[in-house]
Amino acid sequence: MTTLSAPPAVSSLAVPGVGEALARQRTKRRGRLYALIRWAGAALFVAVFLALLVTLLQQAAPALGHMGLSILWRGWNPQKNELGAGVFIVGTLLTTALALLLAVPVGVGAAAMFAELAPRWIAGPLTAMVEFLAAIPSVVVGLWGLIVLTPLFARDVEPFLKTVPGLDAAFHGEPLGSSILLAGVVLAIMILPTVVALSRVAMTGVALADREAGMALAATRWQVVRKVVIPGAGRGIRAAVTLAMGRAMGEAIAVAFVIGNGSGLPHSLLSPGASLGSAIVSSFSEALPGSLLKSGVVALVLVLLAISVAVNVGGQILMRTRRPAVPPRGPADGTGTPPTLAPDPGLVLVEMQP
């Protein structure tokens, strides 16, 4: 098969058994090499993972020791050595909730359109377009939010929202553009492709027989979507929402551009605020290395890490168990189609967003 026996081996092959022994020795060595590669890769990977946790903990230790558990609710006031994440946690939760509130109904509606209601020739290209949004770097979305959306919100959107009766509590304050509201809108735009793509996949996975059962009962198309497809895809949609939520929480750059970077507790959706990510971006470079402030910023990183990892891992577990572990096989006589699990490249692109 291969040239296992190089020139010197030709003579040794003449003696029975010697070439075989050489080959066996070489096989053994190569087998060990293969094991070495696998174990080295795994060890490096785990080392990086542990180093990440240990380094961050070590860097954050002074601030964590200084603040204790109160880091979770105290405010941020570096002049007074008060390094709490409370305000930023509120900012993160507010912007994320706003983003989900906007993106989930729109995303699930669009996914229903793409998966069920629209004719295929139009659904295909439109799906690709929405998913393309996922490929746009977050700093570019932030740039667009800063230069295009901020003036638009200051001039038109926010003054309009202030005129809507009954919403005074949410929208009082000066319409400045940069605000919790705008950060929520930008995040909604950024997580939309995740919601659309993963919900669409979940909906197309609903069994045809279920749909046919609905239609046999004279349900209209919308009734089938509403009563059969969306409930059937419930788990996948929940996974999509969870992953989108993790992404919204962890986003730092685009939010830092549009949230206004206030350090007080936001009193309305129009007031400038800060999320954990945007606070890290704006304070990290200013803090001197080795200072308590630097350590405090790393403590913010740890808090963000804990929250978003919990959400993301939850979403991934939802994703994983949705798929059957073993693809269904054909009949035992071997006529069934072999299992092919080629991943959908578009899905990979979306799924890998944090």
């Binding site: 990440l52 509606g109 971006v281 092919t340 699990l341 692109l349």
Partner: protein, 304 residues
């Protein structure tokens, strides 16, 4: 004599009952159809709402970017504000070097680790899979701070620190993509190799990797496309540079960093640079992600 059609033989009360049911159903189906149309229209509105920001974004990037773009912009180095002839040549080269180095670090480790996940002792490979889940859920800003603590605090601000951060960012994506591609290789191919008495390492190299290669290349290139546009891992690590910096241990510039710093400048010319860089960056990302799919398609066809 039995009736040919049941409806003919129905007598008074039964008949009116049936008529009633039919009339109600007809009224209802009309209402349900209207509601179905309305709901479909609402879904169409959500589609428009999802496309509107995308269209606006793309239009702005192309329009504003094209105004800045010129050959000089692609090769010159940055000039002070109000000095004409600004360029991002060094940032383009910086991005290519930083991402190239990151790929060189992440691809082999990712592949080896995914081989471990596929074959290794099951309990340990579960641990690695969990680590990959956690790492891929880690915000990129946290990875930037990690790279700062590990590399910048030891050798200083450098392109290498940025590469390390991007490598950490790509690793979990690569491990998962590689593993998924190899899991898609039919078990029969494994069995055929084993039946020939081949070493497992040899089966992996000649059979499994070969047939999973299109998927692996696609997955790794998509990870690269993602890394090209990442800003958060770079802002604390590479520092930026005004010159063509080719040494990875020195501070370097990169396109996302240029957008990040210039976008917040109050000068129109800096914002123009940011838009121009955004266009170049987006083109690069699109080229890489399209290439990822094209490579897979070409390779799969060749394999058949």
């Amino acid at each position: 004599m039995s009736a040919p059609a049941a409806s003919v033989t129905l007598s008074g009360p039964q008949l009116s009952q049936r008529e009633l049911v039919r009339a109600t159903a007809e009224r209802r189906i009309g209402r349900r159809r209207v509601r179905s149309r309305l709901a479909t229209a609402a879904c169409a509105v959500t589609v428009c709402l999802s496309l509107a920001p995308l269209v606006s974004l793309i239009a702005y990037i192309i329009d504003r970017g094209a105004r800045t773009l010129s050959l000089g912009f692609l090769v010159h180095t940055p000039k002070p504000i109000f000095v004409p002839g600004n360029g991002i040549g060094n940032a383009i080269v910086g991005t290519l070097i930083i991402v190239g180095l990151a790929m060189a670090m992440a691809v082999p480790v990712g592949l080896a680790a995914s081989l471990f996940v596929m074959e290794g002792p099951r309990r340990l490979s579960g641990t690695i899979r969990f680590a990959a889940d956690v790492l891929s859920g880690t915000p990129s800003i946290a990875i930037g701070v990690f790279a700062y603590a590990v590399i910048v605090l030891t050798i200083g601000y450098s392109g290498l620190a940025g590469s390390f951060a991007l490598a950490v960012l790509m690793l979990p994506i690569m491990v998962r993509a590689d593993e998924e591609a190899m899991a898609a290789v039919p078990a029969e191919l494994w069995e055929a190799g084993l039946a020939l008495g081949t070493r497992r390492g040899r089966i992996v190299r000649s059979v499994v990797l070969r047939s999973a290669l299109p998927g692996i290349v696609t997955g790794n290139l998509l990870a690269m496309a993602r890394a090209i546009g990442e800003t958060a891992p770079l802002i604390f690590t590479i520092f930026g540079s005004q010159f063509y910096a080719l040494r990875p241990t020195a501070p370097m510039s990169a396109m996302p960093l240029v957008i990040y710093t210039d976008a917040t400048e109050p000068f129109k010319s800096a914002q123009a640079t940011a838009w121009g860089t955004a266009l170049v960056l987006l083109v690069l990302v699109v080229v890489v992600s399209v290439a990822a799919r094209a490579v897979a398609a070409v390779m799969t066809r060749k394999a058949r």
